[in-house]
């Protein structure tokens, strides 16, 4: 048996050596002529993580406040008075231009335009229009960059979410946080580089699932670690009763010893990943309780985030926790707030959802700013797609719904070297982007760029081809970079 393994190894090496020698040298020479930066590539053949930014980063960390379910841009950041004027009139076919519909409205006989139930006002240096649902966000408008020209390819939640997080609609690729962990490594070795926090509003919701924070084909140390709201923020982290830290240490040492034997035998990199995870978990046992303890936060901070920030599992508590994690060197803190899928009863539900997130989102920015951390922390707020400018189902002025709309939606970004202001524009119907479109891949390329990574160089070879977060497209939106 052992002989077989040995032979297999030799075989592999011989074949590899020969192919390298004959084809290899020639193709390397040719390759370097055709692609000048072939040898400056971020990663070598073996697929080792680069770990160091390609260029000096503007941001060191990301906090992504994902609004799961897709908040309506028309009741938040994309002001369209025309829709109120044309309330109840049919969406012109020339505007829709053959846009596919979801199964939920495909059979709808008419598409009556519907304007926002909520009023908009202009705020700040950029005179950005923000709806009355987001009064606190309006106060920090001079710190945020509102992008009104986002567009995506998917029209349903799961593919759209997966697309946003992994750059592909099918879920087998690493998510953004995993890519960053892979590309930049961890800042604080006592905490995972990528953490996930979930909360849920009262609105109609869509599920979230661990595929959204998967490491995909990357090493499993890059997987997102979910912090939950209960007594044990990280499940199975506590030592079981009767086991003290000393014994735990002894156990881990023995385990590592056995694992290293096993690694020598099989060479599976996942074995080493496992050892690292055990070790980190051991250190997390002391680091995590310190971070999740909010009892020392001053009264002003509690007021700023809202008293809900002391109730674990709320968006507000997650924002506060996100700040603490980020402050302690977690590269990517991913929040999901569920409940933004307003197919019906939009004015009511959206008010509740906005109330859940508005104050805490603004507080997070303010808080980071007063600690001098906003310049190195990129905060992102937004959903997976937009919502239609026409009503789904029965429509009254006070009650209507909006279906999924991939052609345009609004998100905002703050800090991390992003220039505050308003970017992009949609037509007066709020249906198509007419200026400075930002595709999801462009957004991802920009996020990576702010962290000092070239999205075309952050690659991983898997199943014979090289993969990127931005697949084969994406360009950095230079205009929004300070």
């Amino acid at each position: 048996m052992e002989k077989n393994f040995l032979e297999h190894g030799l075989n592999f090496n011989r074949r590899r050596f020969l192919s390298k020698l004959s084809l290899g040298l020639g193709s390397v020479a040719l390759g370097s002529l055709l692609i000048p930066d072939l040898f400056t590539s971020a990663m070598d053949e073996a697929g080792l993580p680069p770990g160091i930014p390609d260029f000096a980063p503007k941001a060191k960390r990301v906090i992504y406040l994902f609004q799961n379910g897709a908040p309506s841009q028309l009741e938040s950041f994309d002001y369209k008075p025309k829709l109120r004027e044309m309330m109840g009139q049919e969406l012109p076919a020339s505007v829709r231009a053959g846009q596919r519909l979801t199964g939920m409205t495909a059979n709808q006989a008419s598409f009556p335009l519907v304007g926002s139930f909520y009023d908009f006002k202009q705020y700040g240096q950029s005179r950005a229009w923000i709806s009355d649902l987001f009064p606190h966000t309006a106060k920090v408008v001079d710190d945020i960059c509102i992008i009104r020209s986002m567009h995506t390819e998917a029209i349903n939640h799961d593919p759209a979410l997966t697309f946003f997080q992994t750059g592909a609609q099918q879920g087998n690729r690493p998510s953004m946080g995993a890519w960053l962990s892979y590309g930049l490594g961890s800042e604080n070795k006592n905490l995972p580089a990528f953490t996930v926090l979930l909360s849920r509003g009262k609105g109609n919701g869509q599920g979230v699932y661990s595929k959204l924070w998967t490491n995909g084909f990357l090493d499993s140390t890059h997987q997102g670690v979910q912090f939950s709201a209960g007594e044990d923020p990280v499940l199975y982290l506590k030592d079981p009763d009767g086991l003290n830290r000393f014994e735990r240490r002894k156990m881990l040492d023995k385990l590592a010893e056995m694992n290293s034997i096993s690694y020598k035998e099989f060479g599976d990199p996942e074995i080493n990943a496992k050892v690292q995870q055990y070790e980190m978990a051991y250190r997390m046992q002391t680091a995590v309780p310190e971070i999740t303890d909010v009892s020392k936060e001053p009264d002003d901070i509690i007021k700023m985030y809202g008293s809900d920030c002391l109730v674990p599992g709320t968006f507000s508590a997650n924002c506060l926790l996100a700040r603490k994690l980020s402050e302690n060197g977690v590269r990517f803190v991913q929040l999901y707030h569920q409940g933004w899928d307003q197919h019906g009863n939009l004015p009511n539900e959206m008010a509740g959802q906005a109330k859940d997130v508005d104050q805490a989102s603004a507080a997070l920015i303010t808080d980071l700013k007063q600690r001098g951390l906003l310049d190195e922390t990129l905060v992102i707020w937004g959903g997976e797609f937009g919502r239609t400018n026409y009503s789904q189902g029965a429509m009254t002025k006070e009650n209507y719904g909006r279906d999924h709309h991939p052609r345009c939606f609004s998100i905002w970004m703050a800090g991390g070297g992003i220039k505050p202001g308003v970017y992009g524009e949609t037509d007066e119907f709020g249906y198509n982007v007419i200026k400075d479109p930002v595709h999801v891949h462009d957004f991802q390329a920009t996020v990576l760029h702010q962290l000092g990574l070239n999205h075309e160089k952050l690659i991983f070879k898997h199943l014979g081809r090289r993969y990127r977060l931005t697949d084969v497209s994406g360009k950095v939106i230079k205009d929004i970079i300070a």
Binding site: P50, I52, P53, D54, F55, A56, P57, K58, Q122, Q125, S126, R127, H136, K139, G185, E187, N188, K189, N190, K202, N204, R283, T286, A287, P298, D299, D300, I302, K303, M304, G306, S307, D308, L310, V311, E327, G329, N345, N348, Q359, A362, A363, T366, D367, K369, Q370, R371, G372, D375, E376, A394, T396, N399, G415, G417, K419, P420, G421, G452, A482
Partner: protein
């Protein structure tokens, strides 16, 4: 033939020389006629010939007296002929150049230099030609002349090239673009920091002091006011009549369109900025922030200015060498992260974690990389003032984070040594005004974070006033703008159902909150309602209303929490008529699981009936003494949920011997009713029962006033209470 050609050329040279002298003396009084202009414009076309020819001629001239060449007839005559040809050529080129210089497009010192060096080339060349056969003209004279002429020629060529292609044309692709100094909006001036940068980027390659095309120079306020040959640049307050705006708005094909067709064009925003600026009287001494909030110029200008954060993070070329890679690797451990800023960058950024293991040696060990550290994050570490002395060894530090450390300020004086420090964060420390003020005076700092320190708002204001170039963050002063509403307290029970008497406990996440409650259905106010101190004993059905209060906070929303006693749980329960399967995306929940639904009806706790009436049979193995049966249901108009028409309770010893024990007719819903959860209770004479049947008849159609009129409503029930 050759002779005649030579004498013709010599004559031509004399004539050209004289003509050049004439042009120079007559200067500006000569006006070049239209038809001669094309000749002038051929100057750049022709000039390359005399340069090459002259250079070659000078090489020959240099070696002319070398002994092996003195007897070479061909060499001598070729040298002489070549010199004559090239000097004639250069004279003609100079004349063309002088014609071209009369056109208004050119001006400035650069042109003057080019003109005079060019003329010197011709006269120096002529001089050499006329003197080269003189007796005194020897090898040394020939060599000096050749070298001198070549030098002047090169200088002339350089000035000419700069005139045509702009400064640094050759090295431009490899040299770094000249950075425009970034200015935060707080300090920005409208003219200096918004208007002038536009000129610098888009106009200055021609309208600079040296070239001054059209006599216009756009380098400073004085010259901008002066304008060019065609007239002043703008009429304050009148954009339409201003030359500047006329020129930039001309169609691209128009010759006078500015910037010229092949140059980088102004963006729409830049054109707007110039327009608004002229319209507002082209102010030269106004700050951007002095403009009104809604002013278009200010809004546009803001997008052109850099936030101070970006200035702090600005990239730069570091003048120190990279650290030893081994050292960096060695210094990295679980509690100290040392990482390069970027690939190929010598700069390092250091963060220390875990206050338990932090001591001075953690910093001292960084000695081998002390020059490379540009960012040090010690947030939350027990760093005291003495440690700052060690930190001041990191001489290239740009950014220092001392948030929530034990620094009191005494050690700040050490930081004066750090000449490159840009950002210092001292949030959550006990630093005082005295020390901060002492440090800030003559420091290089650009941003100072002082939130949650011993400095009071007045002191921070004073600092902000005193050091206007520094961004001083004293924390967010708009806490009042955030709604500081309390959340309701937490209860120690989740279910509204209880079997036996128990003590209800209330807790609030925020310290010092007063929890007030009532049990009589009235609203708990802040004065009279019972103040929660000890657990509340509960033994019967009650409705608890609770609200939390704290000084400085807005009181919480009231929560209403009903508590139901349900003494018996049937041993089996079966639905005679089935609830809707898919209302909640799954199976309907059980009605005796003590799981109460809330107003958010999509949480899966309500069982819904649309087509069927609710009809449920409950069996007890041992007969129980029952005196009331209750059914919990919700009315929620938005979700089409109505209460039943009627609830009936049947009882007996088995399912074949049931009799009606009582009914309950809930009040019909009215338009505008708020969501409500009710227990429809039916009381009867206490009796022993083994079998109870509960029937709730649904309403068949939503009423006329309801938006969904005509459709069937849903009956949502969640729990049956048997006492």
């Amino acid at each position: 033939m050759r002779l005649t050609l030579k004498s013709f050329a010599e004559n031509l040279l004399v004539a050209a020389d004289v003509f050049i002298v004439f042009l120079l003396i007559a200067g500006s009084s000569v006006i070049v006629p239209m038809w001669l202009m094309p000749i002038g414009r051929m100057h750049p076309l022709l000039l390359h010939f005399p340069i090459v020819l002259l250079m070659l001629a000078m090489v020959l001239e240099y070696f002319r007296f070398k002994s092996i060449y003195t007897q070479e007839h061909l060499y001598q005559s070729f040298a002489s002929g070549l010199l004559l040809t090239s000097v004639v050529f250069s004279a003609i080129t100079v004349i063309m150049g002088l014609f071209l210089s009369k056109e208004s497009a050119y001006g400035g010192s650069l042109l003057n230099w080019h003109k005079w060096t060019g003329v010197s080339v011709v006269f120096l060349g002529s001089l050499i030609y006329w003197c080269r056969n003189a007796l005194w003209y020897k090898a040394s004279a020939a060599k000096t002349g050749a070298v001198l002429l070549t030098l002047v020629l090169i200088i002339t060529g350089h000035y000419g090239a700069t005139l045509t292609h702009g400064d640094n044309f050759v090295l431009e692709p490899v040299s770094k673009p000249k950075a425009i100094p970034k200015v935060p909006i707080e300090q920005a001036m409208v003219f200096e920091n918004v208007i002038l940068p536009i000129f610098t980027q888009k106009c200055l390659s021609c309208h600079n002091l040296e070239k001054a095309k059209g006599g216009l120079v756009l380098t400073d306020a004085q010259s901008v006011i002066k304008g060019g040959k065609t007239g002043p640049l703008y009429v304050p307050g009148n954009a339409q009549m201003s030359l500047l705006l006329q020129r930039i708005h001309l169609p691209m094909d128009e010759k006078k369109h500015m910037p010229p067709k092949d140059e980088a064009q102004l963006t729409n925003d830049e054109m707007d900025i110039l327009k608004f600026w002229v319209q507002q009287n082209a102010e030269l001494k106004k700050k951007v922030l002095e403009l009104a909030d809604t002013d278009s110029l200010r809004i546009l200008a803001a997008t052109y200015l850099t936030p101070i954060e970006a200035i702090i993070e600005e990239e730069e070329d570091y003048d120190f060498s990279a650290a030893n890679e081994e050292d960096v690797k060695k210094l990295n451990n679980n509690y100290r992260s040392v990482s390069p800023l970027a690939k190929n960058s010598p700069a390092l950024s250091v963060t220390i974690f875990n206050k338990g293991s932090f001591k001075l040696s953690v910093l001292k060990e960084l000695e081998p990389i002390r020059k490379q550290i540009i960012s040090l994050n010690l947030s939350g570490m027990p760093v005291s003032d003495e440690y700052l002395k060690q930190i001041s060894e990191f001489i290239n530090l740009r950014k220092l984070n001392l948030n929530f450390t034990m620094v009191k300020g005494g050690g700040l004086k050490y930081l004066k040594k750090l000449a490159s420090l840009r950002a210092l964060s001292l949030s959550g420390t006990d630093v005082t005004f005295k020390f901060v003020n002492e440090y800030t005076a003559n420091s290089t700092i650009k941003r100072l974070i002082l939130w949650e320190t011993k400095l009071n708002p007045a002191e921070i204001k004073q600092l902000q006033k005193q050091y206007i170039k520094i961004l001083i963050v004293g924390g967010f002063d708009g806490i009042g703008q955030f709604s500081s509403k309390l959340n309701p307290p937490k209860l120690n029970v989740e279910s509204s159902l209880f079997k036996q008497a128990f003590n209800l406990e209330l807790k609030h996440v925020i310290k010092g909150v007063e929890i007030r409650y009532t049990l009589d259905g009235s609203d708990p106010d802040s004065l009279k309602a019972m103040l929660y101190k000890n657990p509340i004993p509960v033994s019967t059905n009650i409705v608890l209303k609770i609200r939390s209060y704290k000084k400085g906070w807005i009181s919480s929303d009231m929560i209403e929490f009903p508590l139901y006693k349900s003494s018996y749980k049937p041993d089996s329960i079966s639905n005679v008529l089935l609830p809707e399967e898919n209302l909640n995306g799954g199976r309907a929940p059980a009605l005796i699981d003590a799981q109460f639904g809330t107003v958010n009806i999509f949480q899966g706790r309500w069982a819904g009936y649309i087509k069927n009436n609710m009809e449920t049979l409950m069996l007890f193995k041992q007969p129980v003494l029952v005196q009331s049966v209750g059914l919990n249901a919700i009315r929620h108009l938005e979700n089409n949920a109505l209460l039943p028409q009627v609830v009936e309770v049947w009882g007996g010893k088995d399912s074949r011997h049931l009799k009606l024990l009582g009914t309950n007719h809930p009040t019909a819903a009215k338009k505008g009713d708020q969501p409500l959860i009710v227990t429809m209770e039916i009381q009867f004479k206490p009796q022993l029962l083994s079998c109870i049947k509960l029937v709730a008849k649904t309403i068949k159609k939503l009423p006329q006033w309801h938006p969904g009129k005509g459709n069937p409503p849903v009956l949502f029930v969640d729990e049956i209470l048997i006492n």
